[in-house]
């Protein structure tokens, strides 16, 4: 693959520069201080109507993280996707349920990659300011994450389109100010900007395994104008390819979160092995357990490289197929490593790891979710094979 060198030079810088290191440590401090994992339990038990903290979201906006990658002309900071990934990794450490994936990875990327300048101007500044939340619905029951397999349709009417269908697992649909949905139209896949309060839109929130917030969005003859097509009607046939690119970025961003999550779960587990005494010695002195920990450490190191390379590629490559390869790589390697870490974390904690009272279980729930989010890993390996010509 072309990660490496033409002309003898590594294409990809896989280490953080000084500013990114600073960003990383600020983010780490903030998350450690304000976002303990136990919050997930509190929000769940209180049946919190939003399922995350609006105050924290505003703080993150003020720190500049929500607009980190947004262009300056839309009041963003104008940094790269790599910088965003640096922040996401830290948020992932504590499994933050704030609408990062929906708004920053799906919504904002869709608008940036496919939106008209009016659409961008209408939404991006609000996203960066923490005032607007965006959701994106592409998956449907039975479609297994493949947008093309969905059944939602858009039918042309006099002045626009009517949308009918149902999207499942739509992250943060219940709080979104805007929902972008994919729908088949004239044999193409289009992306449509839908106002959640429009007639015919119904949103049912469910309690998700990993305590991120999601719901089902049902569209019954929802009327939208031509200006609701992402990129404008002229861009109608572009929807499928924009969506592919958006999902690739989401895979990479999610993988960055996973990196933080697996590191934290691993760190907690190694600490537990050092503290817990059985047979008059710390558990961590048993070689059977040492080797399992050392293996996890190795697979985390490999996942880290894949994720950093993928994030860097978003910024450096103008070829969507190249990004797609790295997205598949990052998502598969990170989610597999994460799942291994989380599963082992429970096992090595013993009984306490099985209790709701302990935080480690939240990592397993998130890990299982990442395995099947944004395309199953089997599908992504098939995609990798196809992109590499076999």
């Amino acid at each position: 693959m072309s990660v490496v060198v033409s002309n003898g030079q590594p294409t990809l810088t896989l280490v953080l520069d000084e500013e990114q290191q600073m960003l990383r440590s600020t983010a780490r401090q903030f998350v450690d201080q304000h976002a303990p994992v136990g919050r997930l339990r509190t929000l769940r038990d209180a049946r919190d109507p939003r399922g995350f903290s609006d105050a924290l979201w505003k703080d993150m906006a003020e720190l500049g993280w929500l607009g980190l990658q947004l262009p300056e002309e839309h009041d963003g900071v104008g940094l790269g996707f790599f910088d965003l990934a640096v922040v996401l990794e830290q948020c992932g450490r504590r499994l933050m349920p704030e609408p990062l994936v929906s708004t920053l990875l799906l919504g904002a990327q869709a608008l940036m990659l496919g939106g008209t300048s009016e659409q961008q101007a209408a939404w991006l500044p609000g996203i960066g300011a923490g005032e607007k939340l965006v959701a994106l619905g592409f998956d449907e029951r039975g479609a297994r994450g493949n947008p093309a397999a969905g059944k939602t349709r858009a039918v042309r009417t006099g002045s626009g389109f009517t949308l009918t269908g149902s999207k499942v697992g739509v992250l943060d649909a219940h709080v979104a100010d805007l929902i972008i949905v994919s729908a088949h139209v004239d044999g193409q896949l289009g992306l449509f900007l839908v106002d959640p309060s429009a007639p015919g839109v119904s949103i049912t929130r469910h309690v998700a395994l990993d305590l991120r917030n999601a719901g089902t969005v049902t569209l019954t003859d929802v009327l939208v104008g031509e200006d609701a097509v992402l990129g404008g009607v002229s861009g109608l046939d572009n929807g499928g390819s924009v969506l592919d690119q958006v999902l690739d970025r989401a895979r990479i961003g999610l993988a960055a979160e996973m990196l933080g999550a697996m590191e934290q779960a691993f760190e907690d587990t190694v600490n537990y092995l050092k503290e817990r005494v059985q047979f008059d010695r710390p558990l961590g002195s048993f070689q059977a357990l040492q080797h399992r920990a050392a293996r996890l450490y190795t697979s985390i190191a490999l996942a880290r490289s894949a994720v950093l390379a993928a994030a860097r590629t978003v910024d450096q490559s103008s070829d969507p197929r190249e990004v797609a390869k790295f997205a598949a790589l990052a998502k598969v390697r990170a989610s597999e490593a994460f799942y291994d870490v989380a599963r082992e974390a429970i096992q090595l904690h013993g009984g306490i790891g099985m209790t709701d009272e302990h935080d480690i279980g939240f990592y397993l729930k998130r890990a299982q979710t990442t395995l099947v989010s944004f395309g199953t890993n089997d599908a992504l390996r098939a995609r990798w094979a196809e992109l590499n010509g076999y």
Partner: protein, 409 residues
């Protein structure tokens, strides 16, 4: 593919790159172009017992040697070019671009050389390093013994003083790769039996031509015979051949193992994408699918999974190279040893699955040469997780030195 980023390379390095490129275009023998992945073990092994060799290989050695480039980072005084790691990388990158083999390779260049630079005295450096640079002397590694494998500190090769200036060696080494083709051997020997194991070891260099040194070949499961048992019977060695202090050889030994592991990782990572290319080629051959998707979806999935493992490994090599502040392998060499060798084994296992029954031949016309060779290479690959410190030993190192997990009291 996206444009390689030039931003991080200084003007000085760019100039050096251009200079190296011009040098190679002009002086490298044309017959060698495109012949090698340029890994740390791909090239001329040298030594006095080397079988006859293509004169172009020697010419390539000569032109690089004249500029100190057979060991680019070694000081000029010892035959190197005194270059920084960054410059050396540029040199190797350019060689790889052209598919040129390394002018001199071997355990001298990869293991004992760097160790002598760190621990050797001036006479030792002057005696051995230039000869390594020139590929005149081939070295082998006398570490393992019948009762000292993973527990290397248990070496028993007896090393008794004989007068003020000599030692006498008696005992046996085993698994000595290429001892039968080597000129010198670096050994771990026991000089103090009363001290704690690690404290009674001495690192000593022995000329294989000394009376009493006898290598005997051992055949591997692959049918090849690349290594030996090496016997020492009253072998008299000058005291000046001790590297570091007497009884302080363990520190020297461990440093050398770090170099060995990192070379193994780099060697397996020397040809990015080769695993995927090889497996796809085998799939096309054995599943009779000249193009398009690999027809068996389960095998296709396996190929993709190994190829992803390869990519993640390769990127990790890059990442660690970038983050290594300055030279010298550290604990990351243990991660890379495990990742590299297990990748290589998975590659061969997948290749064998693709070959199916065509992978089950040993000799005979039912199999082509490539099939037969592949099966033997698969067998050889089983050694990768044993040699150079087994995977289990690497896991021990990671657990204790990196993760800080406690020792058994």
């Amino acid at each position: 593919m996206s444009e390689p980023s030039q931003q991080s390379e200084s003007a000085e390095l760019r100039e050096f790159r251009a200079e190296m490129r011009a040098f190679m275009r002009e002086e490298a023998p044309k017959s060698l172009l495109g012949t090698s992945p340029c890994g740390p073990f791909d090239g001329y092994w040298g030594g006095k017992l080397h079988p006859p060799v293509d004169p172009d290989v020697l010419r390539w050695r000569d032109v690089t040697l004249a500029r100190g480039l057979t060991a680019p980072t070694w000081p000029k005084a010892y035959g190197g070019a005194g270059l920084s790691y960054a410059h050396a990388k540029v040199f190797y990158d350019e060689m790889r671009e052209l598919g040129l083999p390394r002018p001199v390779v071997g355990f001298g260049f990869a293991m004992i050389g760097p160790t002598l630079l760190q621990f050797g005295n001036e006479e030792q450096k002057l005696q051995h390093l230039p000869a390594i640079c020139a590929g005149e002397i081939r070295w082998c590694q006398g570490y393992s013994e019948p009762n000292a494998g993973s527990d290397l500190a248990n070496v028993q090769l007896a090393c008794e003083p004989d007068g003020p200036d000599h030692f006498i060696l008696n005992g046996q080494k085993v698994w000595t790769s290429h001892a039968d083709r080597s000129d010198w051997i670096f050994c771990l020997a026991r000089t103090d039996r009363s001290a704690k194991k690690q404290r009674g070891i001495t690192f000593i260099l022995v000329d294989m031509r000394t009376e009493g040194v006898t290598p005997r070949k051992i055949e591997l499961i692959s049918g090849a015979s690349p290594f030996c048992e090496t016997f020492f019977e009253n072998v008299r060695v000058p005291r000046s051949n001790v590297v570091g202090e007497v009884n302080a050889g363990w520190t020297v030994a461990k440093a050398l193992l770090g170099h060995e592991r990192s070379m193994i990782g780099q060697s397996i990572g020397r040809d990015p994408g080769s695993t995927q290319r090889e497996l796809v080629k085998l799939a096309r051959k054995h599943l009779d699918a000249a193009e398009g998707p690999i027809p068996d979806p389960l095998l296709r999935d396996r190929v993709a999974a190994v190829s992803m493992e390869e990519a993640a490994f390769q990127l990790t090599l890059d990442r660690l190279a970038q983050s290594r502040a300055a030279g010298g392998p550290g604990t990351e060499s243990s991660i890379m040893k495990i990742a590299a060798t297990e990748l290589k084994q998975r590659r061969f296992e997948t290749g064998m699955a693709l070959a199916g029954a065509q992978g089950l031949g040993w000799e005979g016309d039912a199999f082509d040469e490539e099939d037969l060779a592949y099966t033997r290479e698969w067998l050889r690959s089983r050694a990768n997780t044993i040699e150079g410190g087994s995977s289990e030993v690497q896991l021990n190192i990671i657990a204790k030195q990196v993760l800080g997990l406690p020792e058994v009291k």
